[in-house]
Amino acid sequence: MTPLSLKKIGKSYDGRNYVIRDLNLEIRAGEFMVFVGPSGCGKTTLLRMIAGLEEISEGEVAFGDSVVNELDPGERGAAMVFQSYALYPHMTVAENLGFGLKMSGVAKAERERAVNDVAKVLQIDHMLSSKPKSLSGGQRQRVAIGRAIVRNPKVFLFDEPLSNLDAALRVQMRIELARLHKQLGTTMIYVTHDQVEAMTLGQRIAVFNRGRIEQVGTPLELYERPENRFVAQFIGSPKMNVLAASGNEAGRLKIHSAGTIPVPIAQPASSAIAAIGIRPEDVVLHEAGTPDTLAASVTMIEHLGDATVLYLEIDGADQPVTAKLHGSNKQYSPGDTVGLACVDGKMHCFNAEGAAIR
């Protein structure tokens, strides 16, 4: 079990424009760390820098106590699972699994034993002599994971490994990956743009945006106490409703022209509030005109079975507000007017820069 430490990491291809700048992160030994963020946020670049596939322009990457900046990928003791699997098409499954061991000069008998062991764990032992071409997507995924496991690496790196699988298989592989992590106890870093994967797999999640880490924390921390608007809106589905707030006169906030609500947090921090955030699942709907609610009208309804998603229009806001209602016994239809409020203590407040205020 190896901890990783990333210190003042910077990445630039031309020396002027940085895709990653001044990034610091400590990954604990045996931790399942997920890098999540929108496309082009630098999460894959960082993973590739850890793997050694991308040069580190600035800063230090250390595995345990040893700085690995100058080491070749093969010398770092990291194994990587690629998005495309990157299986060697001309080699059999067994040869694919054993390639890394062969490169590090492990004797044939020992190699075969290791390959067989891993194949058994991943239930691919019956296809050892097939070529990757004849395997299904899920099977290829297993071989790619097996190729990483067989070398007994210090760190596993996953680069969006499930994005080429269909939804059902993705759920299944997600569970298997979580089980695998429990079984092996190895440090794992997992890159994804899918927040569901991030929330279900990660012990801690680092949310990336434009080459910076916005917040690092456990899934629940990120969900319940996002540090800024970006994290608040990135984590959670449907995403958090953010409404511009103004006024703050006599302890009340004016939300567009839809009404006023009491300031949800204690003074004096409240004076900086520029926006409020309400998660769709925290929205409460009252009769229209109820005090301390916002006037809204239902525009669209989606029935998901276990829940109902309502899209509401509130006066003066250009974005619709989403409400996710569980087991509500009241039926709504488009055009209904309601009073919108938030579950007590669940409202998030942000200042003009987007940072959370508590």
């Binding site: 596939l53 990928p73 093969g74 060697y88 098409p89 590090s104 190729r147």
Partner: protein, 336 residues
Amino acid sequence: MQPTERNRPRKRWLSKKWAPYVFVSPFFILFAIFGLFPLLFSVYVSLFRWDGVSPLSQMKWEGFGNYLYVLELEGLDFRTVFTQAFWQDVYSRDFWRSLYNTLWIGVVAGLPQHLIAIPLAVFIHTQFRRARNGILAIYFLPFITQTVAIVLVFQALFSAKFGVINSLLTGIGQWEVAGFAPFSLMFPTEPVDWARPQKTPWIVAFVVWWRYVGWNTVLYLAALQTIPKDLYEAARVDGASPWRQFVHITLPQLRPMIFFAVTLTLIGNLQLFEEPYVLTAGTGGIGQVAETSAMYMLRVAMTDGDFGTASAVAWLLFMFVALLTWMNNRVLKPKD
């Protein structure tokens, strides 16, 4: 209402049933005249004695006589097949000598083409980004240059008295430090007579190699560009050195192209004609040391005026090419 010119039904000169056949017929007509007919006619001619000029009525039936004449097997003592004398005897027979020359030049010119083109393509692929096409064009240039122009340049280079090659070699050979010429053992001190028969096949092979190495480089470069980058990345993470990446990723991935390129070289070199013909001014060199089978065929047809035998040579050569291609197929063709 009177039917106007426009909406009166057009008269068909071609029925709907026959139109498709008529439209595709030009290819078949041309192919039949210029492809199929000469092919079949050469089979026919190879069974007759005919000088190519006389009326067809004067063709004389030979059966497989032309083939036997070309193969010239009578008088060969097969009990002595393991002696040098036997093979010297074989070499003295025109067809076999031309076949030997063809094979020799084919291997000496062909093998290094691939042994150089593959690493060269990898080098260009990995080391150049923007300059790649320019550099490739330089290597490709000999391929699109007129054979005659190439040969004139090489004749000037290899000229015994005034050639650049000789002045370079003798320059190194004669170079002296304090009255001692350190390179005189490895390099000639006197101009080399490149026209000597022992050297002729080497020069032909060199020109052929020089001419086609760029072509093969282009083929391999195209194939290299289709190898996914992440295979190399996976191999690097697996700890493979650049050399092992070449051996374990590049070469196996290039295999289909190697098969294709070697097949082209094989077929091309067995039909080799232009370079040796122009370099030896059509003679095949002293003692016909560089006369290829294609040149021999031309000599039989044009000089000897024996189109029947020449056709037999062509068909024997075809069978030989087919045999070698089949063998290449067995050895290099990608499995599954």
